[in-house]
């Protein structure tokens, strides 16, 4: 089959790879009908995630049609249309039973690698390094879905792939980012990063009752979408870099009640020297992640507020403002999204016309054009927000 494979830093290619096979009675094979490039795939592309190998099949946002099932998969049948959540989760361990699917204790066969970096291992993830399981991803014609009796949600409505695909990751991720804010009536939520997850965090914050949402980014087209589609107020930090002061002023001196970091490890900073400091430290591997957005979210958050970290970080950051956290009673919440627990309720929100996440799609391409998709997305060319690939 054809699949998008990682072929080194800043390089992906579409290659012939062996078709996936059922390896367990709880597996299903899905013929992929739509798959997307995630912002976190760019961290792989840019070479910031360790334990990638040349030839690894990429992609963790995908949906399609079940073409084969293992003997113990009795919730799905051949021909079913499914969306596949990006965390691979067994459903039987203590974490899964608590709804913490992205912390599944059994789905990462390379848990020992993750423990060395993070202390304990999270779940395995499709197409996201050997440290997270070494599973082949879904930017391909077919994908093997482990624990198919737990993860995929069967679609029985007439909604389009575009409307449903983002249940696999970015809609639940944005939603969880907003949910972690414990939004109360009157709350103002600030969102760093108006990329796809940021856009859906903005929409989710309103779904969960926020009074105001303020988006912070440097790309006018992204801020336009946050304003026009999401109903957010916006701050362009390249034009007005003093984001903390602006937020303070916008909120009557209180600060946002909660701040969502939807940027992660490759943040930019309007102040050249500060960006250079972290860029050099990251390039020389003295810190793994550039935490500008997180630092700013912490500094901007109101006393006693919550900072929700949904952007992906991989390792260690420098100059972390712990003093602000402690002395101002801030709460930091985070996590890879526990997608399985959001699939049903968020599908219902789409079915009920409360939201149509497809508005983030700006580019549609054939799977064969995945390398162009990665380049376009990485360099934010042509107003690129979200690339959907069709095998």
């Amino acid at each position: 089959m054809r699949a998008t494979v990682w072929s080194g830093r800043n390089s992906v290619q579409v290659d012939n790879v062996p078709d996936p096979k059922i390896m367990s009675s709880r597996d299903a094979i899905v013929r992929v009908t739509s798959t997307a490039i995630c912002g976190s795939d760019l961290h792989l592309y840019d070479g910031y995630v360790p334990t990638m190998k040349r030839g690894d099949v990429l992609g963790h946002e995908f949906m399609g049609e079940v073409v084969e099932t293992g003997g113990d998969v009795d919730n799905l049948s051949v021909g079913d249309r499914v969306v596949v959540p990006f965390p691979i989760a067994c459903g039987g361990c203590a974490a899964c039973k608590s709804g913490l699917y992205s912390l599944c204790e059994n789905s990462n066969p390379n848990a020992g690698m993750a423990e060395k970096l993070w202390g304990y291992s999270p779940c395995g993830i499709f197409g996201y390094s050997h440290m997270l399981g070494g599973y082949a991803g879904g930017q391909a014609e077919y994908a093997r879905v482990p624990f198919a009796d737990v993860g995929p949600i069967r679609i029985e409505n007439g909604l389009t792939d575009d409307q449903l695909l983002f249940l696999s990751d970015i809609f639940p991720t944005g939603y969880m980012g907003a949910e972690l804010c414990d939004i109360a009536p009157g709350d103002t939520i600030a969102v760093w990063g108006a990329g796809p997850v940021g856009q859906l965090a903005i929409a989710s914050a309103y779904l969960l009752g926020a009074e105001r949402v303020i988006a912070i980014d440097r790309f006018p087209y992204r801020l336009d979408m946050a304003r026009d589609k999401g109903g957010a107020e916006t701050i362009d930090y390249e034009r007005t870099p003093d984001v903390v002061e602006i937020l303070k002023e916008m909120t009557g001196g209180r600060g946002p009640d909660a701040c969502i970091d939807a940027v992660g490890m490759e943040a930019h900073h309007a102040h050249g020297p500060i960006h250079a400091y972290d860029r050099v430290k990251q390039a020389t591997r003295m810190e793994t992640d550039r935490p500008h957005a997180l630092r700013e979210a912490i500094m901007a958050c109101r006393n006693g507020g919550t900072v929700s970290v949904m952007g992906v970080y991989g390792g260690f950051v420098d100059k972390f403002p712990i003093g602000a956290v402690v002395n101002r009673s801030l709460t930091i919440k985070s996590g890879q999204c526990h997608v399985q627990r959001y699939l049903r309720p968020l599908l219902e929100r789409i079915e009920n016309d409360e939201i149509d996440p497809s508005y983030v799609i700006t580019h549609r391409m054939s799977l064969e054009d995945a390398p162009t998709g990665y380049e376009t997305f990485k360099h934010k060319r042509d107003g690129c927000m979200k690339v959907v690939l069709t095998p």
Partner: protein
């Protein structure tokens, strides 16, 4: 590291146990390898599964302790045997996978 390493570790563990039984108990060996994991189920059931899978070899190095608050069973391995700690941990994970998912999880 694959499961082959884990199986090897248990084999080495068992062999080391057999050697150790024939030695003076007070003899001090190399630094201890300690590893633990928590699995669902009560200690009796977990221990039965362990015996089914591994037999009684090396059992003296393994303790099955109820985890607090109904959190299942803690399996503790403590050995002075010359086995890689990572391999013992991998084997414990493999056992937990078999018990909780019915299979060895593979990518």
């Amino acid at each position: 590291m694959g499961f082959g390493g884990g199986m090897l570790a248990i084999a080495a563990l068992a062999a080391a146990m057999r050697r150790r039984r024939s030695r003076d108990r007070s003899e001090q060996g190399p630094p201890h390898v300690r590893a633990a994991i928590t699995v669902g189920g009560d200690p009796e059931a977990v221990q039965r599964s362990w015996l089914d899978l591994h037999g009684a070899d090396g059992m003296g190095l393994v303790r099955f302790v109820p985890a607090p608050g109904g959190r299942g069973t803690e399996i503790h391995v403590d050995t002075a045997a010359d086995v890689p700690g990572d391999a013992v941990k991998d084997e414990l994970r493999r056992f937990k996978q078999l018990l909780e998912t019915g299979e060895e999880v593979r990518s």
